[in-house]
Amino acid sequence: MSEEKEKIVEAPGCLTAEPDLEGYELVYEKPHTFTDVPMHYCPGCGHSTAHKILGEVIQELGIQNNIIGVAPVGCSVFAYDYLDIDWQEAAHGRATAVATGIKRIRPENYVFTYQGDGDLAAIGTAETIHCINRGENVTIIFINNGVYGMTSGQMAPTSLAGMKTTTSPYGRDIKTMGSPIKVSELIANLPGAFYVTRQAVHTANYVRKAKKAIMNGLRYQKLGLGTSFIEIVSNCPSNWKMTPLQTIDFINNEMLHYYPLGDVKLPSKEALDALAEIEKGEKK
């Protein structure tokens, strides 16, 4: 135990000792799909929750050895530091093109991208639309917090009308800056989109639903019938200049009015029946 206690976690600029757990009952632990690297996300940020449920899903599906992630440019650029799976780090906006290249070569692997709003809905719009239009058999996890987080708070394609950012200091004027893009509704029109849903992670209930959506999004790759798209409306305490609690109010009162939660496109009953058959076979 004393040896365990002194185990130092390797992380740049961060030293963490393992806590002494003797005499305690283990009621919760992080997913085994996680590395020991401490996350760089700001306190209260939805990314860490989204990562956590993704890690849980990968663990519960038992696909840690069979999944390849594509990390974006943006706050989640270091996603590969945290989830203990194979990863490729893509150029800004190009995650879905990279995922296409991987999945076409390795159709037997689960492949997903994890992208923010600037990456997916601004610089990577063409790649996003065409990946989904081809119905690439990949899962896209899209974190929408209405702001460029990594570069410290500039306007995103999803910033709400009137939202003040460092590049819209007087508020987003939709006459000159365009309207916030509802990506889920936009791409649900494409025949290649198999499953499109908008979720959130700022309450326990939403977290459970989002986790189920991610799980379904990955499971649907067994069918090969198109792209699964899971949008997660999230927050950014640092760049919204709010406390984490205030961001929850802002999501509830502002973000979710413009970005309503729920399924935008669901698989057919036949497809779900086919999936049930496949999964029955897997159990045998």
């Binding site: 390849i68 490729q88 990279v98 296409t100 290249g101 790649e127």
Partner: protein, 352 residues
């Protein structure tokens, strides 16, 4: 054994060679004068194996190449000048992430949208970087339809040996013209790629394909590693062809299409009693600096002939290092000079 001899366009020969070299995937976007490549592959690959995908842009193509190469595939793309410019960001990422792949630029006239006629205006882009950061591509310059086929095999061999992207820099004439081509290449064995993302198997250290090294100390190490590799490539992989250089007093240095024209010019010059010779760099990176420098010890003058404003002349000057005068003759914008026109200007340069 009967030889497989065909009459083909350079672009088609290259595409056929790619299939014979065992490519797992091709990602590309149409652009003149290289559209025969995706056309040929879209026709042939469904029955002969491998992934053909027409991407929404060159930007997407090169990033699909990144993904597929990172997943362990033998993969290529092709384009022409404006399209290849669009790929430069991805090329930089691929070079840094050390992903083997074959890139082809069938050079057309520029700058800008330019013209669809042949040019060598992308020499700097190909050999001096192109994208951001300190990286190099191995650059092969075919001067015949045969070489467009041969260099696919050589390109993949070098790419996989050094874990680096290889560029075949052709041009609109070599890509479009029809010539005899012999297919007698040895099959390329599949190479082991333990670094590829294939899913984190039991006992296997996980693979991460990235070009992000945020700590400057680490980024510097990566750069030093890359430069060690480039030094190794420079030591081992310089290729050139020499024609009548043994006693040459006046040497033309030219690559690709220009080398074919200049070869004829050298013959014409010799017929007139001029001791002319030709140096044809086959690898534009690594460049044959040493050999050209050596030749400058005996020759009186050197002239590059290029379908550009004298880009390679700078490398010849570096090689010659002031020992003898170095000049340039070239045509721009897609114009191809005749051997006689080159000779006239070569003689002028000699007399200067």
């Amino acid at each position: 054994m009967e030889q497989d001899i065909r009459l083909m366009k350079g672009n088609e020969a290259m595409a056929e060679a790619a299939i014979q070299a065992g490519i797992d995937a091709y990602f590309g976007y149409p652009i003149t004068p290289q559209s025969e490549v995706p056309e040929y592959l879209s026709r042939e690959m469904p029955s002969r194996g491998g992934v053909f995908l027409q991407a929404e842009s060159e930007v997407a193509s090169i990033n699909m190449v990144y993904g597929a190469a990172g997943a362990g595939a033998r993969v290529m793309t092709s384009s022409s000048s404006p399209g290849f410019s669009l790929m430069q960001e991805g090329v930089s990422y691929i070079a840094c992430a050390q992903l083997p792949c074959l890139l082809v630029n069938v050079n057309r006239g520029g700058p800008g949208l330019g013209t669809i006629q042949p040019s060598q205006g992308d020499y700097f882009q190909a050999t001096k970087g192109g994208g951001h950061g300190d990286y190099k591509l191995i650059v092969l310059a075919p001067s015949s339809v045969q070489e467009m086929a041969d260099f696919v095999f050589l390109g993949f061999e070098l790419a996989e040996k050094y874990r680096t992207p290889v560029l075949m820099l052709s041009d609109g004439a070599i890509g479009q013209m029809m010539e005899k081509v012999v297919f007698n290449h040895k099959p390329l064995p599949k190479t082991d790629k333990p670094w590829a993302t294939t899913g984190k198997r039991e006992g296997k250290h996980r693979s991460i394909i990235t070009s992000l090294f945020i700590q400057p100390e680490v980024m510097e190490k990566v750069n030093i590693e890359l430069n060690k590799k480039y030094a190794e490539i420079t030591k081992n992989e310089v290729r050139l062809e020499e024609i009548q250089t043994e006693d040459a007093e006046y040497i033309i240095v030219a690559y690709g299409l220009s080398a074919r024209i200049s070869h004829k010019t050298v013959d014409l010059a010799r017929a007139k009693g001029i001791k002319a010779g030709l140096v044809r760099p086959i690898t534009l990176y690594p460049y044959p600096y040493d050999r050209i420098g050596e030749l400058a010890n005996k020759a009186k003058k050197m002239m590059t002939m290029e379908l550009n404003a004298g880009q390679m002349m700078e490398d010849v000057r570096l090689a010659v290092n002031g020992k003898i005068p170095v000049g340039h003759y070239g045509r721009l914008g897609g114009i191809i000079p005749s051997p006689e026109e080159v000779l006239e200007n070569f003689e002028k340069f000699i007399k200067e």
